[in-house]
């Protein structure tokens, strides 16, 4: 498990995303009963983080991959992950282009795209 102790751009972007996630009322509707560990895995740099979604909140951004709960595993190059969590790229389009891999149920993939839609309006 690769961890990171310094605040990288990806880490900062994920924290910004967490803020938006937790303050958006439409997100709250979408995540009723949805508790997942979202694993963010930058393939080119090895940087890895876990976004913990629990009790209707994204509680924290944890360094490394925490697979203790049901997971949604996202894999891509770091720059693309940053663009996605900053709202510059749609996950579905990235998935279609084969530059993002999402290891989860089909339903969770749609949920991620729905979250991108309500958070970024894209």
């Amino acid at each position: 498990m690769t961890t990171t102790s310094v605040e990288t751009e990806l880490f900062r972007t994920l924290n910004d995303f967490r803020e938006r996630f937790n303050t958006n009322p439409r997100v709250q509707k979408l995540i009723v009963g949805w508790e997942r560990n979202i694993l963010v895995d930058a393939m080119d740099t090895g940087e890895q983080h876990t976004l913990v979604v629990k009790d209707m909140q994204m509680s924290e951004v944890v360094p490394g991959l925490d697979e203790s709960n049901e997971t949604v595993h996202l894999q891509a190059e770091e720059a693309l992950l940053i663009d996605m969590f900053a709202g510059r790229n749609k996950p579905a389009a990235m998935l279609m282009d084969g530059v993002l891999a999402v290891f989860s149920s089909d339903k969770d993939k749609v949920k991620l795209e729905a979250l991108a839609m309500v958070i970024w309006g894209i």
């Binding site: 509707k29 595993h73 749609k90 290891f103 839609m117």
Partner: protein
């Protein structure tokens, strides 16, 4: 999910998608084309062909794990337009099958509830599927697995029972032909291509990997296992029918499972046939046909379909627009199939379409090896490139050949339907391209004149 359970889940998706009510109609079509022995041999050969294709699909899935296969693989290999064309062709295929599948379901229901209008049964079925999907409900994985494996088990057991019965189950009339090899062996490749239809859907497992290393061995192996399971189950069932039913009786109906199981088990057999058809319908609709609404949703997110097809349920995130779109198209397709009374025609056209799509997958592997030689490939098809080229070349020819396989029954309709599907896919491709263009246009206009002059 433990690894063994995970592997069984992958197998159940591949096998469950393939086992549809229309599979029995295709069995009837196979017996129309050839005698029992050739049918079973054709089914085995069709399974081998699918195994070859699955190995190629496994390599592509490893390169683009979790991607919605057809769009991603073909876009990476051939670019946007050819990929879009084949995606639309595939969607047309799915819509056609959704229509045929629901009509066949209504025919089966008629056996135990005569008098119910077909369209009413179809609309109730499609309406239920749409509602379930609108609310984002999903069949739990375990239920999906049990449904697929119980279905496979029933086909095997009743197939063996028929073989052991060894004579006509229903008295009188012409004698069954059994597994004799009467007729020309030259029919075998075309029968095998038709039989591929029985296994279509094994590739639906490729976007569903639950962890990265699922693409190294479990998913490629699961596709092969699913195909093998279907070859055995459908082969035994077809052998049972050939042993106990005269060929004319098999080909006289679109739902030969009903007279076969009825002859074998009496009234209980008819109910079993209804149960089998229900399970087949559930596994196909659950894993695939309405799942294709997610492909429509993703295409919408790429601005390749109108925005309304990308609306979501604000509480579940379920792709509401895409589900309604797919449901409406399936209802239109079912109306056409009912009006024409031609589910077998849909299956024939579907066989030809799928032969082209599978050939494109095989070509994509070869082209990507040239375009991206260093790309990650956790699984490589063990077949030599020459064999892959040969398959990719022959498959479309065989696909076109199947359109003439039931020439007496459909002298021109299969060819016309196929050409119509190609034309519709071409039109839809142009439409998608036009829809995606406006987003790029403002950016192009935004370039100032002085900047242009510098270039």
């Amino acid at each position: 999910m433990k690894q063994r359970g995970e592997f069984l889940f992958y197998v159940s998706v591949g096998a469950g998608m393939a086992l549809a009510t229309i599979s029995f109609t295709m069995l009837s079509g196979l017996f129309e084309a050839a005698s029992g022995g050739w049918v079973v041999l054709g089914m085995v050969l069709g399974g081998v062909m699918c195994g070859v294709i699955a190995a190629s699909v496994g390599e592509l899935a490893g390169m683009f794990p979790s991607a919605p296969g057809i769009r991603t693989y073909l876009k990476a290999a051939f670019g946007n337009r050819p990929s879009l064309f084949l995606v639309h062709l595939y969607l047309i295929f799915l819509v056609m099958i959704a229509g045929a599948e629901s009509y066949l379901f209504s025919l089966v229901v008629e056996q135990v509830a005569p008098g119910l209008p077909h369209m009413a049964v179809i609309l109730v079925l499609l309406g239920s599927v749409v509602l379930v999907n609108l609310y984002g409900l999903e069949l739990p994985r375990n239920v999906q697995m049990v449904t697929a494996f119980v279905l496979l088990g029933i086909l095997c057991v009743t197939g063996i029972a028929g073989i052991l019965a060894g004579g006509p189950a229903a008295g009188g009339g012409p004698a069954p032909e059994g597994l004799g090899l009467s007729g020309s062996p030259g029919l075998l490749p075309l029968v095998a291509t038709m039989a591929i239809f029985l296994y279509v859907g094994f590739e639906w497992v490729t976007p569903l990997g639950l962890r990265p290393n699922a693409y190294e061995r479990p998913i490629p192996l699961a596709m092969l296992t699913a195909i093998l399971a279907n070859v055995v189950a459908c082969g035994l069932f077809a052998s049972g029918m050939a042993t106990t039913m005269p060929r004319e009786a098999i080909t006289a109906t679109f739902i030969p499972q009903v007279p076969y199981l009825g002859g074998l088990l009496g009234r209980a057999g008819v109910w079993l046939a209804v149960g089998v058809s229900c399970m087949a319908c559930i596994s196909t609709f659950n894993a695939g046909i309405m799942g294709s609404s997610r492909l429509i949703f993703a295409l919408t997110r790429e601005s390749l379909l109108p925005k309304w097809a990308g609306t979501i349920n604000p509480e579940t995130g379920a792709p509401r627009g895409a589900v309604l779109f797919m449901g409406a198209l399936a209802a239109v397709s079912a109306t056409l199939v009912v009006a024409l009374d031609a589910p077998l025609l849909a299956a024939l056209i579907g066989s030809a379409i799928i032969a082209f799509v599978y050939a494109a997958f095989m070509l994509a592997v070869l082209r990507l090896r040239r375009l991206k030689p260093a790309g990650r490939r956790p699984f490589r098809t063990p077949l030599p490139a020459g064999v892959q080229w040969a398959f990719a070349g022959v498959l479309p020819l065989l696909g076109v050949g199947t359109l003439f396989e039931l020439e007496e029954q459909y002298p021109w309709q299969a060819v016309a339907g196929f050409l119509l599907a190609l034309a519709a896919a071409a039109l839809l491709t142009r439409w998608s391209e036009a829809l995606s263009r406006p987003a790029a246009a403002p950016a192009a206009r935004a370039v100032p004149e002085e900047a242009k002059s510098l270039t």
